[in-house]
Symmetry: C2
Subunit: 473 residues, 2 copies
């Protein structure tokens, strides 16, 4: 999951942003209420077939096979593209014939050998991970004194000559949420403005077992690009103590990271074509198929992809064809800056108002589902809330507004209805963008429930007699 | 904490061993009960001074200074010896003049560059840590197929020709406790008997963020020594799935590890000499000063050392001189096989029955204290239990028997009274022997309470009119 749109992300992760949650008093026409409640039998059938019936455990097994086969799927590299080819073949094998890809231009950054070593006041290897799109150091690296700050304000208050030629270490605390903390990942900009030659940041997490967490960072036009990496929470705290105690702290940093020319990748789609509306009022269910190059990207975000496209598979196999098309979208190159989804918006902008009814996303883990967050007009909120009452067999009826997620917020921010999975993801950031993003985080029962929630919600919304109202700018 | 004496260790960690806990019905003479309860005011004074008074936070601050200065203190290396010199100087500065060291012969194993790479069915870096005293691979390493087993039984059932020339991977589950699982760390022996050229084990932990856990392993006389390392829980599970699905799994393993000649180190002591008995009926409070070479050894076991020697400091500063000597012992080279404590037993064996009254140890974390486990005669148990009732202000009155710990079990097993800290260490094995053993695990309040418990208990036992009864074999 990317750093953009942090408030919505925080909301979709169930993390307090300090913003008030706006709730609408609903006064839906009784006929519409009755219509929605009339879906109870079919919703129960969908849920039962996935959670206890013929599809039980299949989402996990299929995901596990894929993950073991491909592992990490870094945008720009061959593994992601091979994994897309595999999925296209898999869809075909499963009888899902409405599958296709659309090209998207994406960046191509490659991590090389990276190391940081504390040289004084004592020697220690400092595990690091370069942040996405970072430049490397000169060959052989460099050795420099560090300046440790706990905030941007602290850095800005320092005279430039105390920073020039040094490595800035951000030892910012976890500020209560990912959204509040993640700005430090692009801290190289402020460091470079002060003349620093590199910046290191405390990994963005509440909990660590010496785990560095990579992630996107963004240089600023006109500001010198300096190498930037994350260090562990433990080492950041240690360096902070050493520095504050007056020690001269020196680090040798060596990073071989490469930014290549932009390249082509693909967004991947598989859909149930609607029985009445084929290319209008589409319900999109989505996740991103790319991952960072560490770990295997099971949690972030293959799980989200799987509960999306497995919804299409199971509804197809159950013979449930809604009025509108349900389109599973597996976005590419989300991690480097939502490249796939942004490209898709550009190429679909001509008739986007007619084309899209609802964007759904799962990109904050697929632990036990709790409900869905939602953004939309007051009337759309009321419809969505009513639909969510049907998810009681999953114990996943929680409705929160606003909602959204990194790949769909570009639409949500302009007034399209959008919804994201709320799940029991208290530990999400323990594993996020680390070597620990593995299949061990995934659980067959939770995945079944997540797929059931996505399948049932998408089906009802796609089959209703009315479109979700929207007020698109 | 070492692998030996696993049942007692498991008990001291509050982990079920399946063994019955023997409780004694107590019938102490009323005069002795009254005497013990008479210590209430002084115990309260000790606790108050450490938890809320003049010593509040000092254990943590002092530990933190030490840890940041020295980091990991691997037996056989110069850092451990320098850290001992530092402590001797520190004791002197603090006015603790009864400090000294005693030489001990210890092993000298050094980790070199280590790597494991999965080559097929796909490429992946596998984080490893060689296990203590492992031999290295030939220069340049080797590439071999793996055989993955979940148990010794499974390995033994395999025909030798299915194992010969391969790398055995143990993907044993966490079997409910450290004690039940840790035998797999010496799995190289059974692997070598079958003709394997190396063995890798799933790290011994319940929880992982891709963290390899090192630890001791023991070769067997007459069995070929093969390189052996731990891999992460995540990778062990993945390799198991790949292997069971019929894939040919190949790994390149390269380990530059060195076993040098045994060398000299020191056990470190600081004591309050008893006002009546100076070198007889000593109460020992202890931890081990050495650590593994990963992380900084704050949890394992500097914390245990600090609550031990800080007990001596605070009692001294409070002017509390008990009848018997309280001796803080900071053992050396525990991790490689309890070398320091074993050497000490050998050199003190001539009058050990007279010399020692009680051995206390802390080597399972210094989280919030809950009480003390204890081994001793029924009468000794009753005295100890009565003393523990005084620890009510710390909410640390839990009494469990039997008790003990890795460095003191050699005495406990022969009938000397022994006690170890019980603490809220549910997450102990998350960090154990990893890069994540850091100061972030330590907490000022918990350390204060741990020191208070050790200081008050040691003081009362050392000052009682009676020795703890013992039945030494």
């Amino acid at each position: 999951m990317l750093t953009h749109c942090v408030i919505l992300v925080a909301l979709c992760l169930g993390i307090s942003t300090g913003l008030p949650t706006k709730e609408t008093t609903c006064d839906l026409p009784q006929a519409l209420r009755d219509e929605i409640q009339g879906y109870k039998p079919v919703v129960n059938k969908i849920i039962e077939s996935i959670v206890n019936g013929e599809f039980k455990g299949d989402t996990f097994r299929s995901l596990n096979t894929f993950i073991d086969k491909f592992g990490a799927r870094m945008a720009g590299g061959p593994v992601l593209e091979k994994s897309i080819d595999y999925l296209l073949n898999e869809f075909n094998t499963l009888g899902l014939h409405n599958a296709y890809t659309e090209d998207a231009i994406i960046p191509h950054w490659v991590r090389g050998k990276e190391s940081a070593t504390l040289l004084s006041p004592r020697s220690k290897d400092l595990p690091i991970l370069g942040l996405g799109t970072t430049v490397g150091t000169p060959k052989g690296g460099f050795t420099a004194e560090i300046v440790v700050v706990e905030s941007f304000d602290e850095l800005k208050a320092l005279p430039d000559d105390q920073v020039r030629g040094k490595i800035v270490v951000y030892a910012e605390k976890w500020l209560g949420s990912y959204g509040d903390t993640v700005a430090y990942r692009s801290g190289s900009v402020e460091a470079a403005k002060k003349g620093a030659i590199a910046s290191l940041i405390r990994s963005i997490t509440q909990f660590s077992i010496a785990s560095p967490h990579t992630g996107s960072q963004y240089y600023q036009a006109g500001v010198r690009k300096i190498p930037t990496a994350c260090i562990t929470v433990e080492d950041a705290e240690m360096l902070l103590r050493m520095y504050k105690s007056g020690e001269t702290v020196r680090i040798h940093l060596e990073m071989e990271d490469y930014n290549f020319e932009n390249t082509l990748s693909r967004n991947t789609f598989v859909e149930i074509q609607g029985r009445e509306k084929k290319n209008t009022s589409v319900v999109v269910v989505s996740g991103h198929l790319d991952s960072w190059d560490v770990g295997v990207g099971a949690m972030d975000d293959a799980g989200g992809c799987w509960i999306s496209w497995k919804s299409v598979e199971y509804l197809t196999k159950l013979g449930l064809v809604p009025r509108r098309t349900i389109r599973a979208a597996l976005w590419t190159a989300e991690e480097e800056g939502i490249w796939g989804a942004k490209h898709y918006m550009t190429t679909h902008k001509d008739n986007e108002k007619e084309e899209f009814n609802l964007f759904m996303e799962s990109d904050s883990g697929t632990f036990d589902p709790i409900g869905l967050d939602f953004s939309g007009t007051p009337e759309a909120q009321c419809i969505f809330k009513e639909v969510l009452t049907l998810m009681e067999p999953l114990n996943a009826t929680k409705f929160v507004t606003p909602g959204g997620g990194p790949d769909i917020n570009q639409w949500v921010d302009r007034g399209f209805p959008g919804a994201s999975l709320i799940n029991a993801n208290d530990r999400y950031f323990w594993f996020h963008h680390t070597q620990g993003d593995s299949m061990m985080i995934e659980n067959p029962e939770s995945l079944d429930k997540g797929t059931a929630l996505f399948a049932a919600t998408a089906y009802v919304i796609a089959d209703l007699s009315v479109d979700l109202p929207k007020d698109v700018k």
